[in-house]
């Protein structure tokens, strides 16, 4: 992957859509498990949402949910800065153009290190927001 595809702006917001119950309803915090990379590629899928309206983000989430055949449960946001601080990085991974992946995780065999980083990352994420009742509608 060329470095030009790396997202370098620390302020870039990254949205992670949640399709499993990976958040605590008690305080709406995301669980670290939601950020753990997949074993087959060791990456965590996110979307760059800097210039998107809230309605457009939910519309995107609804579209992703259809593609992934899972109901959308919520979303959390983490600044790229938090990713950089824990020693990871974000690379663009289209399509769509604003899809990206958190990369640079320790090898999957090093589960304790992966957990440790995922805990740190989860602690930097925003409170989870749940979809509005009409989130499946297209943004106006």
């Amino acid at each position: 992957m060329e470095s030009s595809q790396r997202v370098t702006d620390p302020a870039e917001p990254l949205d992670r859509f949640l399709f499993d119950g990976h958040y605590r309803k008690s305080d709406m915090t995301v669980k670290w498990q939601a950020l753990k990379p997949q074993r087959h590629d060791n990456k965590t899928s996110v979307y760059l949402t800097n210039r998107m309206s809230v309605a457009a983000i939910w519309a995107l989430g609804a579209q992703v949910a259809v593609e992934r055949n899972q109901p959308l449960r919520g979303r959390t946001r983490c600044p790229n800065r938090a990713v950089i601080i824990v020693g990871l990085f974000v690379e663009l991974d289209p399509p769509p153009d604003n899809h990206a992946c958190i990369c640079g995780w320790p090898p999957v065999e090093d589960e304790p290190s992966v957990m440790e980083i995922a805990q740190e990352l989860a602690a930097s994420c925003s409170k989870v927001e749940t979809p509005p009742p009409d989130h499946w509608r297209s943004p106006e």
Binding site: D27, K36, M115, E116
Partner: protein, 279 residues
């Protein structure tokens, strides 16, 4: 237990914090939950809140961790999570009531009385250092309604964890259970998780059980920066990671016949909370 029946318009705050309204038959308890000596109650840590309950008489008390500054709406959401282990969520509604008691929930169906009460007054909201206990009571006839079987004798913590594990395995047995292409959870992971649950015993606090790609996990959680987690992906070893403020710990240990000491330390440190360590 005796209840007074009233009809009232209420505001329904769901666990997600969305607000709606409707008219229900409210049940206001004639008596308040009675606080008995500490030894008569059981304690549980759930979602970062300390719960105190006495299941044998159908009374439950739910409380802030002493010194917590968590907003009331988070406590309410935590209560819903805890109460929903015994009561269907759709039968619980939040009802402001005259001080000092606030009913928090009951069955929407007439005569099926499930009430929840809270000893929270405006003054106590102003005093975050004070331990505030919430509670609910269930009517004597609730056991015959079929709504909340087991209300008088909640499942043993170990059984609750096993039940949660079974529920997760049912969902995690299909590929893409997380929407990101996670493979089905391996049977070996379940075997390892059950072994780990057996090692926890009854004296350690109850964990949150969850799935992660390739693993079954257990969390002892106070807040995002105060958490101890265990990950089990087979029946031979367990991984752990703890975040305690700026302190971290992590590693891998063999799954043997006893809970590794380092894990017990991590669990107890997480459960003791930030407040305990600051004193």
């Amino acid at each position: 237990m005796n209840y007074l029946m009233n009809s009232t318009t209420v505001t329904n705050v769901t666990q997600r914090g969305s607000v709606g309204s409707g008219t229900f038959h409210a049940l206001s308890a004639k008596r308040s939950p009675i606080l008995l000596p500490e030894g008569s109650w059981e304690h549980a840590l759930f979602g970062g809140l300390s719960f105190k309950y006495k299941p044998l008489q159908g009374d439950f008390l739910v409380g802030h961790w002493p010194g917590t500054t968590r907003p009331l709406n988070e406590v309410i959401a935590g209560f819903y999570d805890f109460a929903s282990q015994w009561y269907p969520l759709d039968l619980l509604v939040w009802v402001p009531h005259t001080s000092p008691w606030i009913l928090y929930g009951w069955s929407k169906e007439p005569l099926q009385s499930v009430s929840v009460s809270v000893t929270l007054s405006p003054a106590s909201i102003e005093e975050p250092q004070k331990t505030i206990w919430f509670g609910w009571t269930a009517s004597a006839d609730a056991a015959t309604t079929g709504i909340q079987t087991g209300i008088d004798q909640p499942a043993h913590p170990r059984q609750r964890i096993l039940d949660a594990l079974d529920e997760l395995m049912a969902r995690g047995s299909a590929a893409n259970w997380d929407g990101y292409g996670a493979p089905p959870v391996e049977p070996l992971a379940k075997a390892g998780a059950k072994h780990f649950i057996d090692l926890l015993g009854a004296k350690l606090p109850e964990p949150e059980v969850a799935l992660a790609p390739g693993a079954i996990t257990f969390d002892w959680y106070i807040n995002p920066r105060w958490i101890f987690s265990v990950s089990v992906s087979d029946d031979r070893k367990v991984h752990y990671a703890g975040l305690f403020g700026t302190d971290k710990m992590s590693g891998t240990v063999e799954l043997t016949g006893a809970l590794p000491e380092i894990m017990e330390l991590g669990i107890r440190r997480a459960a003791s909370g930030v407040v305990a360590e600051s004193h």
